[in-house]
Subunit: 321 residues, 2 copies
């Protein structure tokens, strides 16, 4: 099959590799579209090796149809239209995945749109709803409000009944998108300090952050009593000076998680959480995929360049023809 | 009534103050013994003011008998022997307290022993069992293993079914006490690095810390996957440099709480947790108060000096005659 190949000192390009084998609990997906994630950039740079047993091809999510089914899998049929969280291998014409990580594509939704959903929705659920127990009526703050994660986090919080949804982003255009998706207050961090802005509106109960560095102390500052702060990345670095006194006095939780390294059964539990809590809202269109650009898989280099530059809103997707 | 008075540039001494009034949901305790807590030293130094509505007399716990009962209180009678968590006022002959913070003194236990229990057991329950959801079969690490908190935390974890109980302390004598109380491994931090020692035994699922400063990064280092770290103080300071990458990769929780500022209903919930989970073990003697020294209330200055010096094991108590 064809897949996107990483080669030192060369642009990403297609090459021929073996089609993945499936295990008893897995299915083979003929991939129609694969979502990009920032972790792909790290993997390409050699800083995020795939977990044991995973494909060494990039790609943490895809949409397509089921081409083969393992002997132990029930509830799915060949030809079913699915999207899936992957431990790797999304940037290929076929990908194998544990059946527990599959979600059914809603009727009428195309593959490119469906490829925008699994990683973002499962990441948001695992962190905001599972780890941080976000409750209806609570105030939510998300950094990177127009990232692939951000656009889903805002919509999910709106559907779930957040009392307020605050988000930061780096341009007025992005802030407009935050408000269009259901935000209560968007903060352009190039123009104003989010600590001041979010303090002024009363703070947040749950904060989803991928920036790290000096954002961590500010997150602690704007968290309300019993607030929870979760990091899914430290894009500006994981090292910082901290004063934890307000963490104790406000009884905060500072935590972080990654999705990729978790077991198949953990991922199945997270997928179930997304399906039970939010999939009907996807089916009815209350929650919509937010696509920035779809590239042909052969143009993966251009897709990575766009993500590296960072001006996009929502997801970047590779398409297989 | 008599109470221990704080006066600038003078030793602690007894003075005459008004007997506290009780509200509808409160009882008045004729205090027989009051436990010391490190927070008392901070309050005396002006760094830990009592919360709104609380007595400005020191003292976060006491044991005695009920002398008056508010109109809205049920289930208690005048003359009942009780111990209680207080928002303040323990260093006096009478203390008022919300009835939700009362625990019945087990038959045969004297007041001095009973005064060793409420603050430590409620603090341990609120942090280790409630906030950090400690589970039977998990490994537990406590710093300050022979502090008033430490000696109860070790015994509670033993009764609850910890797979291992690790504790740090500053002398071999204290380490012997840790082992006598049920510890699996005691670390004399003056002789060995706890990070190395606890890593060698496989790490801990839940860590109860009151040291802070450079202990925080080491706690992160020795925490197992999905580990929880809770600070109830930062005796060496709340400021530090941290690298949070392992917090995310191991999906840890870093949190902290204080007890005093919580609402009466929160304290009642915590008291119920102690009563339901651990009070029968106190009644049967599986969990024992650990008293270092009882001083007459008039010798509060000497009691504070002993706590400041820090060589004690277990609780220091003031006794009213």
């Amino acid at each position: 099959m064809q897949a996107v190949i990483i080669e030192a000192d060369a642009p990403l390009h297609l090459g021929t590799v073996a089609r993945p084998q499936i295990g008893e609990s897995e299915v083979l997906i003929r991939v129609a579209a694969s979502g990009l994630n920032r972790a792909d950039l790290l993997q390409r740079a050699g800083m995020y090796p795939p977990p044991a047993g995973a494909s060494d091809i990039m790609g943490l999510e895809c949409a397509g149809e089921i081409a083969e089914i393992g002997a132990g899998v029930t509830g799915w049929q060949i030809g079913d239209r699915v999207c899936a969280l992957l431990a790797g291998g999304g940037y290929g014409e076929y990908a194998s995945v544990d059946a527990g990580s599959l979600l059914p594509i809603p009727e009428g939704m195309d593959y490119i749109s469906a490829a925008c959903l699994p990683e973002a929705m499962m990441t948001v659920w695992a962190n905001v709803y599972d780890r941080c127990s976000f409750q209806p009526g609570e105030a939510f703050l998300i950094h990177g409000g127009t990232s692939g994660i951000g656009v889903m986090a805002i919509q999910m919080a709106r559907v779930y009944g957040a009392s307020a949804i605050y988000a930061t982003a780096g341009s007025d255009k992005k802030c407009d998108k935050i408000m269009e998706l259901g935000g209560t207050r968007a903060v352009n961090y190039r123009r104003e300090d989010f600590e001041t802005a979010i303090t002024a509106v009363g703070g947040a109960d749950v904060i989803l952050d991928m920036v790290g560095a000096d954002y961590v102390q500010k997150n602690i500052s704007v968290a309300k009593i019993n607030g929870r702060i979760v990091n899914i990345a430290y894009m500006n670095g994981p090292k910082m000076e901290l004063n934890l006194l307000p963490l104790m006095l406000k009884r905060l939780v500072l935590t972080g998680t990654t999705l990729r390294a978790r077991s198949a059964s953990e991922k199945a539990r997270i997928r179930k959480g997304v399906e039970a809590g939010f999939w009907s809202a996807v089916q009815t269109g209350q929650i919509k995929p937010v696509l920035d650009t779809a590239f042909p898989a052969a143009k993966a280099e251009a897709a990575h360049a766009m993500m590296t530059k960072g001006g996009h809103i929502g997801k970047i997707v590779l398409e297989w023809s």
